[in-house]
């Protein structure tokens, strides 16, 4: 017998490892980029990194294929054919920047609001917002309004922080985890790692989702809820917990506004808190029966009884709450049919929450002191954690549903306690500590303040005296008062309609608005190409920056090619959407691990160049020369407040400053040496109860998160919401238009409510009996995955998944296609049977479908021929009501796009169907043809 071959068991893995931050999705994991002969050879997770601790998802490992994608734009482009055709010529950067300057300078000098600057999955929002503010346009936002603003805003207004980057379950201690809706798309690796920890301990996971895929597949218990009814289900759980008295009264008294007395006197103050002369909300002291300031020492706040003043009884928040949710309309039997969940199952879940919260209480022997100065010997936790994202958020009742979910967490005392939900610094941060939105613009001047923020009442709306919105997206108007992230999805539609006013230049970054980042995609493409009678475009100029040849490219007049994430500087900043953990403050950088091999430039550097050419304040020196050489220079030297800049680590001249300190010229190098990130642990005594924990508050001030301690109580009752209701009831100076009064009164309820989604309420459900949902596969991030040779093999088309019931009813068999029709449009897709599905729901993958010619794919790619977007079925407006008004298909409070509200009917496509519908004609590609075969190996 011959001897066994001896393979090389210790090959040299690489010449060098460069540690930077992934950008294959918004998760921002640390990566080790292995270099061979100066080229990227292999990417793995960074074990030291706080976000991913060494693991990496499919997208992250496939980064090398994104970096080498044939869809990378190669040079600035000037449109030479008609808009949408994709005909361009390559131009120099000088010409490109000169053109942009010539377009933008006159706008700034005369009417800065005529620039609408919107960014998509931008991770430099604090920078792009700063630029837009300096330019002076009120029309800037990122993609949050299209994404998950309901979740973010409901969290901030209720408990001062939300899910995702604002907080996380206490994965190491939770014993019961409830996951609501589609969540696979965000915080991808931390949630998977967390689920893994729960599974290793055998903790119970309950998944509430119409579709049992992804995380719900490993849920111990699956609740196949009917879309849009999560809020009702949650309130029914609250009903059960209240009925059984399984709520944490001590927590409610100490840490929430449950004892606050609500003014019952008819008039302009009704429903606001009863306040003392010093403006402090009052509570009833059980010992004296008197109304006293909420933070008076040595009182026993009452939750049950009110105080009578002048013949009117003012009851505490908790009484209002209990009265509302104990009503029979929230009983499990009353909601079961609507939610598609048997009443017994609702009761069982409520009982399990109660059992784990109160019988499996956790105690950590860690003394701490609260903001009232009271010392506690230990930290007591209720080990029930919850998480939600898109699924709950993207409905027209999403804001109140997210509020209901937070209320449920608070009722059992599980927020910021061991085993429950924990904030990640710089959260918790109350709305009062956030800015108000600004839209004050003047020719040649910067904006009067930051664009986005958290209104506390109608006085903070961005409207003219006649209620005309000041922003092109109508954010912070009566139509969407708390639209904290703006309404990117309305920009093109409004700009095209000239409603509330026309714009001149649409400037987009990393936002595929002509395809998967818009509702009503086909119509949006028409709006972008629509012309006036004189042949000019309705939207006169469009500038677009992207690293890749996305569908949007063809619709721009000027293309500024960005670099890939391995070729650029970036900062994952505390001023933006940071990467902190519940235990630690953290931020990170990207740095060019390789130089671009084509004529692309990092967008942020280009923006600084453009800013300097336009003479924008903060971007030029007194002599008019550029203040920052490039984005790295800005990251190092820009200060938002004295001593506080984009990066919190290694500040000060000696590089030891944490959070605060003078700019350090060696800061980026220090980050690189440290593995691309900076981490600062929260002291042990400050780890939990952060909103009320004196040690945490002091630490946060020291780190520059706030300038003074900001303790606060949770808002079970949302007073700002009530202020909008009061306005709608006729009180106050600012009055909503009459057609919105009823809706404002109905939806802006200060206590969480549930109402049917607008689509459900207004659609003939007999004609459109089904709900249609999309979700992103875990291995794809929006449209980016399809240009990736490895990832597109995993999910290259978008079948329509239908339940066995629908399958049988329509006589489907393998290989059949189905046509899905909504009141607005039609798509045709191959069908696949899936039984683990809410019987009234069909779904498909999101953002895999591509337009022919885009992304350097072959024109017969399955992404174009066997795929479609549900976006074609969803209008950005609700169907006309005959009142001549344009009613947005959005949450009425935040303006969040309600793309999970969709209702459809299904029918079998005629035999012989072999191509998906709609099939838009091919765009010309500005790029050379992609290589056919790949066998990529970097030789060392």
């Amino acid at each position: 017998m011959a001897s066994q071959p001896v393979p090389d068991l210790s090959p040299q893995v690489s010449d060098e490892v460069r540690k930077t931050t992934c950008y294959m999705c918004a998760c921002r994991c640390g990566i080790n980029v292995h270099m061979k002969a100066g080229k990227v050879a292999y990417i793995e997770g960074n074990r030291d990194h706080p976000v991913n601790k060494g693991v990496l998802c499919a997208k992250g490992s496939a980064g090398i294929m994104q970096h080498l994608s044939p869809a990378r734009l190669r040079a600035p482009l000037k449109r030479v054919g008609p808009r949408g055709s994709g005909q361009f010529e390559e131009i120099s950067w000088e010409e490109a920047l000169q053109t942009a300057t010539e377009w933008l300078a006159p706008l700034r000098a005369t009417a800065p609001e005529k620039l609408a600057f919107f960014t998509g999955r931008d991770q430099s929002q604090s920078f792009t917002g700063w630029w837009a503010q300096a330019f002076g346009t009120p029309n800037w936002a990122a993609h949050g309004g299209f994404c998950s603003v309901n979740m973010a805003a409901a969290g901030i207004y209720t408990m001062r922080g939300a899910f995702w980057e604002f907080g996380q379950p206490d994965w190491d201690r939770t014993k019961l985890f409830l996951l609501f809706g589609v969540a696979e798309d965000h915080d991808s690796n931390p949630i998977k790692m967390g689920l893994g920890k729960l599974k290793a301990r055998g903790a119970r996971v309950i998944g509430v989702n119409p579709i049992r895929s992804g995380y719900n597949a490993i849920a111990d218990d699956w609740v196949g809820i009917t879309p849009g009814t999560d809020g009702l289900f949650i309130l029914s759980l609250a009903h059960e917990l209240l009925r059984a008295g399984k709520i944490d009264l001590g927590y409610l008294i100490r840490y929430t506004n449950a004892p606050y007395l609500v003014n019952a006197q008819e008039g302009p103050e009704k429903g606001l808190f009863l306040r003392g002369e010093d403006g402090k909300p009052l509570v009833r002291d059980r010992r004296t029966g008197q109304a006293v300031a909420w933070d008076s020492p040595d009182i026993a706040p009452d939750l049950a009884n009110g105080v009578e003043i002048g013949g009117v009884t003012h009851l505490p928040v908790f009484r209002h709450l209990a009265d509302r949710y104990l009503a029979p309309e929230y009983a499990p039997d009353a909601v079961a049919a609507r939610c598609g969940i048997p009443a017994a199952r609702i009761r069982a879940i409520a009982a399990e929450i109660a059992r784990v919260a109160f019988e499996e209480e956790i105690t950590i022997n860690q003394p701490w002191t609260d903001f009232r100065g009271q010392k506690h010997d230990s930290m007591i936790g209720r080990p029930v954690a919850m998480h939600a994202m898109r699924g709950v958020s993207a409905h027209s009742n999403g804001f109140q549903t997210a509020r209901a979910l937070h209320m449920l967490q608070i009722l059992i005392g599980s927020v910021e306690t061991p085993g429950g939900f924990r904030f990640k610094p710089p959260y918790p941060k109350p709305p009062e500590a956030h800015p108000r939105p600004h839209a004050g613009h003047k020719p040649g001047q910067p904006l009067d303040g930051p664009h986005l923020g958290y209104p506390l009442g109608p006085e903070h709306l961005l409207i003219q005296n006649d209620n005309t919105p000041k922003r092109i997206d109508k954010a912070f108007s009566w139509e969407a008062p708390l639209s904290a992230h703006g309404l990117m999805h309305m920009v093109i539609s409004n700009a095209h309609a000239g409603d509330p006013y026309p714009v001149d230049t649409l400037f987009l970054y990393m936002a595929n608005m002509a395809w998967n980042s818009s509702m009503n995609t086909s119509a949006v493409m028409e709006m972008l190409t629509d012309q006036n009678p004189d042949g000019s475009y309705k939207i006169p100029r469009i500038i677009y920056s992207d690293a890749y040849s996305s569908e949007m490219v063809a619709f721009a007049d000027l293309i500024l090619p960005d670099t890939t994430y391995l070729e650029r500087h970036d900062c994952i900043s505390l001023l933006d959407r940071p990467i902190c953990e519940a235990e630690a403050l953290a931020d990170s950088i990207r740095w060019p691990v390789v130089a671009p091999d084509r004529d692309g430039r990092p967008f942020q550097t280009v923006l600084l160049d453009l800013g300097a050419r336009l003479g924008l304040p903060g971007m030029v020196r007194e002599d008019g020369s550029a203040k920052f050489k490039d984005y790295a220079d800005y990251i190092t030297n820009h200060e938002r407040r004295p001593g506080v800049g984009p990066l919190a680590g290694f500040r000060g001249e000696d590089g030891t400053g944490k959070g605060r300190g003078a700019p350090n010229p060696g800061q980026i190098e220090a980050y690189i040496q440290n593995g691309g990130f900076w981490l600062d642990h929260i002291p042990q005594e400050a780890q939990f109860f952060k909103p009320w924990n004196a040690a945490y508050q002091d630490w946060a001030v020291a780190r520059g998160l706030y300038d003074s301690p900001q303790p606060y109580v949770f808002n079970l009752y949302g007073e700002p919401l009530r202020k909008f209701q009061l306005a709608a009831e006729g009180h106050g100076h600012r009055q909503p238009p009459d057609h919105l009064r009823e809706r404002l009164i109905q939806t802006m309820n200060p206590l969480p409510i549930w109402y049917p989604t607008f689509t459900d309420a207004e659609t003939d459900t007999a004609e459109y009996p089904l709900h249609a949902l999309t979700q992103r596969p875990m291995a794809h991030y929006h449209s980016w995955g399809s240009q990736n040779a490895w990832l597109r093999q995993l999910h290259g088309h978008t079948p329509l998944y239908v339940s066995g019931e629908i399958w049988a009813q329509h006589g489907f068999s393998e290989g059949d296609w189905a046509t899905l029709t909504s009141p607005h449009g039609q798509i045709t897709l191959p069908v696949v049977r899936m039984d683990a599905l809410n019987p009234h729901t069909v779904w498909t993958w999101n953002a895999i479908a591509k337009r022919r010619g885009a992304w350097a794919l072959g024109e017969e790619a399955p992404e174009a021929t066997r795929s479609s977007l549900l976006n074609h079925l969803i209008h950005e407006l609700l169907p006309p009501k005959g009142d001549g008004l344009r009613w947005a298909n959005s949450d009425p409070i935040t303006g969040q796009a309600a793309w999970y509200d969709l209702r459809v009917q299904i029918e079998k496509a005629p035999a012989g169907q072999s191509v998906s519908y709609p099939a838009h004609p091919a765009q010309a590609s500005p790029l050379p043809k992609a290589p056919r075969d790949l066998a990529h190996q970097v030789k060392g």
């Binding site: 066994q4 071959p5 393979p7 068991l9 210790s10 893995v13 990417i43 793995e44 997770g45 074990r47 060494g54 693991v55 990496l56 499919a58 992250g60 490992s61 696979e184 998977k192 790692m193 893994g196 599974k199 992804g214 719900n216 597949a217 490993i218 111990d220 218990d221 699956w222 196949g224 059960e240 209240l242 009925r243 008295g245 009264l249 008294i253 049950a304 209990a322 104990l326 009503a327 009761r347 069982a348 879940i349 009982a351 059992r355 875990m778 291995a779 040779a789 490895w790 990832l791 597109r792 039984d835 350097a856 794919l857 790619a861 021929t865 992609a930 056919r932 075969d933 190996q937 970097v938």
Partner: protein
């Protein structure tokens, strides 16, 4: 050479936890990345950007649905790669000796320089663990990252297969299944780990852990969890209901 060696005491392999796998494909792509850059020919992709992309992958994740009579259907994500069988049929069929099972640790490998690309080993494998690379025309398969697990150029903690290192949910475990005291063997014993297609007689080394019971939440009486029961379903105007309970509860605080 293609005769199987006597069973080794050391049996390196994977344990895959079907209770935990979320089906994210991280292991698939991490494997693709490592093995494109290491061990033998790169894993190629034909028609990479065209109508029928088809690449070589050593690890793939399937998804199955399990219909049950009295409970909702389950969905199970199912990663599959070479199981490094003790009785590996792919090895003995190889006419050239390219396919072999290592005597010291049981890893099944292909010596690519001796592979004639006849494909018979792939036929012999019941699990679909081998794929012929269309560019290199040699048989590719999971090497259990033999060039990682013994690699002196990697830090000790990284000497584990790429798929295991990267798995975000921790659903993949690597170790010596020949040692009954190893962590992986203990896990298999504790969780009832099983073989795939035992009837094929391949004696796989890799084991799978079954999904735990699903949808088992019992339906307890909520009131029984609560003493004293507030019985507060009636509006709070009645002091015996919620108010009474609240009064008593607040007194105790």
């Amino acid at each position: 050479m293609t005769s199987l060696p006597p069973p080794s005491a050391r049996k390196l392999g994977l344990v895959i936890d079907l209770d935990t796998c979320v089906g994210c494909h991280a292991c698939v792509i991490s494997c693709k990345g490592w093995n494109t850059e290491n061990y033998g020919a790169p894993l190629s992709d034909m028609d990479a950007y065209g109508a029928s992309p088809e690449g070589t992958f050593l690890n793939r994740v399937h998804t199955f649905e399990v219909a049950r009579d009295t409970a909702p259907p389950m969905v199970v994500h199912f990663p599959k790669s070479c199981l490094h069988c003790d009785n590996a049929p792919c090895v003995t069929v190889c006419p050239t000796g390219a396919s072999y099972k290592r005597a010291e640790d049981g890893i099944v490998l292909v010596n690519e320089s001796a592979c004639i690309g006849c494909g018979l080993c792939a036929w012999a494998c019941p699990y679909g663990a081998r794929e012929m690379d269309s560019a290199a025309k040699v048989m590719k398969k999971c090497t259990l990252c033999v060039d990682r697990i013994y690699n002196d150029n990697l830090p000790e903690e990284d000497r584990t297969p790429a798929c295991v290192r990267t798995c975000p949910a921790g659903a993949r475990h690597f170790g010596d299944l020949g040692d009954p005291d190893s962590d992986v063997s203990q896990l298999v014993a504790a969780r009832g780990g099983f073989d795939l297609m035992p009837e094929q007689g391949t004696a796989p080394v890799n084991k799978y852990l079954p999904p735990r019971g699903r949808d088992t939440l019992e339906i307890p009486d909520l009131a029984s969890l609560c003493a004293p029961a507030p019985q507060a379903a009636a509006p709070s105007a009645q002091p015996t209901g919620l108010l009474g309970w609240l009064d008593r509860a607040l007194e105790r605080l």
